[in-house]
Symmetry: C2
Subunit: 404 residues, 2 copies
């Protein structure tokens, strides 16, 4: 199940970025599960990674390699997360990088490994190595290569996720392409598992790092399916440097806006394809004393199983929204100043049901697939927007059956 | 659905405590939904209430009345929470107290009102008032009266919850009886919605307050069904003072132990009857730097939808437990020092799967109805125990259909 119709975009070529994939039989046969992304010489790469203390072996290795030198390959497998695998997991992640070195001649430290799938199973290194020649042979910069790579990183996702944007800088067109996967265990903390974005722009490393971090804070760090932060979250931004230079403040603003568009689109696609999702829900919290306070209220509502099941039932049970807002960690909360709107229908004001509210009006909004809940706290001027999905029978089915 | 077989205990008489109930048709016909508890002259009453900022009208009124004078009646209705009802809700709660004054002659401020049920609907004051004579006429101190009162406060609960304990103080037997309700919106913060405990012990007010607060911290504040803190939580402890005096340190310890037994039993009964529950799960976190840290880790695991669905599926998917532990708000977490046990099976050590672990051993524990997960953090000597249930299809069904 997924909310709304979203096709995979026709990705333009980004010169120097080539993508290859293979069916390596990592967990299931006849499934595209191995992806290689080739990064050209001179490109700069920024990355954000999960803050989960039990972060996966490939996250350790990718972070280490990224700190050392400019990467030549991103190597991604689905079907196994190589997380909770201790020392053996680190050895396995490095072994995959070594295998790519054997085939391409680049140092193994120029390979960044990424894994997604079940936690705690040993990584099937041999199957990955056997699949590498096929993935390398298929390296290509075409729209098909992008689409197949997007397919090759999925787990419980029901559809591939891609986004593309352009902006004009110094008389040239700058292009950004991005792919992502994610459907469950989605409450990213730094990034979601997994997103890969490439651009032809030329951007200095420190600025690239900041641009990525800030854009991730406005996109992937504002979504939640089920409050569970993955051990494998990673978001990578590759700037090949073959296109326009992004140095002037005005150009940086344009690039930032385009990057936001790609990342927010990918983040929203993850929510629309959230495990068992039947609703796409936008939570806008305004008039908060700080952005953190706004995020705290938004996530408290977004994580409430009772709000999520009411959304699933298309039930305008606004009492559950009110109860969730009321238990958010906000000191000295004056509930009489809070207003809550469901779409354009006022639900709550003065600590209770708004005078003009009718069940019929609330139900009409709840019946939609795309629902916006606006919560104004009456405490300040900070705000935050968070996107989430509902909690359905299919969520339980998917997660009660995932390993069997 | 509920976990395990637990009968309602045969409650002994506590002299002076009488309970009456009625079928007032508050939400549905032919359902016991109105309860009156009579408190004798000279009794002392302690109470803890929800910390939800949107706390219900009766919570405001009960707190206000309790601060003013010694209560004579506790008036409890199910079928309507009188929460999110603003000024009208306060007027309605007071109107019910007034109605009891008309019938009994006690001041309306000697009545403590409690409500549970749907949030945001106006309280049907007339129906409650019409039911009061029947409830008063049935006032009695018998085991039947206790059982009917326990039944009369239920909402989505599938069974009545009661516990009784005795201890010997000063050559006399002190008795404690308690009833509670709760099944969903259970992540109590001060107390759960609702628990009423009575004893014949004679205890000074300040000591009674402390005893209740501390025992609630070890019982109701250590359970969660769905992370949602109710707007109506309240736990009341009535000490009639007709029995033994509890003043000596040794006697206080004995009473505390008996009170813990009653409150922990009621708290665990709420979890066993958690909405859709098929498992009763004990989370023991040890070797934490502080009790708060131990509670944070325990609740992070207890609230994880992925851990809860794995428990429902009897799937020893320990990677999800590890991922939840890893995202708990613990600064400077060294995962290599963490061990996780499922029953008597070691799952995790040294940051990964324990060497001797087999899927078969894990699955054997997961197949049970009562499951204990032990997490040792290797950081200190504090600990905490939290009880929770799983996330099943029935949870979604119950909460997607609750209002319809």
């Amino acid at each position: 199940m997924a909310v709304g119709e979203i096709g995979f975009p026709d990705m333009p070529v980004i010169e120097g970025i080539r993508l290859g994939s293979a069916k390596a039989g990592i967990k299931k046969p006849d499934r595209r599960d191995l992806v290689v992304i080739e990064v050209p010489q001179g490109a700069r790469v920024a990355g954000t990674f999960t803050r989960n203390a039990f972060c996966a072996a490939p996250v350790h290795v990718a972070r280490e390699h990224l700190a050392g030198q400019s990467p030549h390959y991103l190597l991604i497998n689905t079907g196994n997360a190589n997380a909770g695998t201790g020392e053996q997991g680190l050895r396995d992640a490095r072994a995959c990088c070594m295998a790519l070195r054997e085939l391409t001649g680049v140092p193994h430290t120029a390979v960044l490994p990424f894994s997604t799938g079940v936690i705690g199973e040993p990584l099937p290194v041999e199957r990955i190595c056997r699949g590498l020649p096929e993935a390398l042979a298929s390296l290509d910069d075409s729209a098909t290569a992008w689409r197949q790579a997007a397919e090759g990183i999925l787990t419980t996702d029901t559809r591939s996720k891609g986004a593309t944007a352009t902006c004009r800088i110094g008389g040239k067109t700058v292009t950004l392409n991005g792919i992502a996967k994610g459907s469950g265990m989605i409450k990213p903390d730094m990034a979601t598992m997994l997103a890969f974005v490439a651009t032809d722009a030329a951007i200095e490393q420190p600025r690239l790092d900041v641009l990525l971090r800030e854009s991730v804070d406005r996109s992937f760090n504002c979504i939640t399916v089920d409050s569970d932060t993955s051990t494998n979250d990673a978001c990578m931004l590759i700037a090949t440097g073959r296109g326009a230079e992004v140095t002037e403040a005005e150009d940086i603003a344009r690039f930032r806006e385009a990057l936001d568009r790609v990342l927010i689109s990918l983040a929203q696609q993850i929510i629309r394809d959230g495990e068992g999702a039947t609703k796409f829900v936008t939570l806008e919290v305004t008039q908060a004393a700080s952005r953190q306070e706004a995020l705290d209220v938004a996530f408290t509502v977004a994580h409430s199983p009772l709000v999520k099941t009411a959304l699933y039932a298309s039930d305008a049970n606004w009492g559950r929204i009110l109860a969730a807002v009321g238990r958010a960690p906000v000191p000295g909360f004056d509930v009489d100043k809070v207003t809550i709107d469901l779409g354009d229908v006022r639900l709550v004001e003065q600590g209770g049901r708004a005078p003009g509210y009718t069940e019929q009006a609330g139900s009409a909004v709840m019946a939609r697939e795309d629902i916006t809940i606006r919560i104004a706290l009456g405490r300040g001027e900070a705000s935050a927007t968070v996107w989430t999905s509902d909690l359905s029978h299919d969520y339980v089915t998917i997660n009660a059956d995932y390993r069997s």
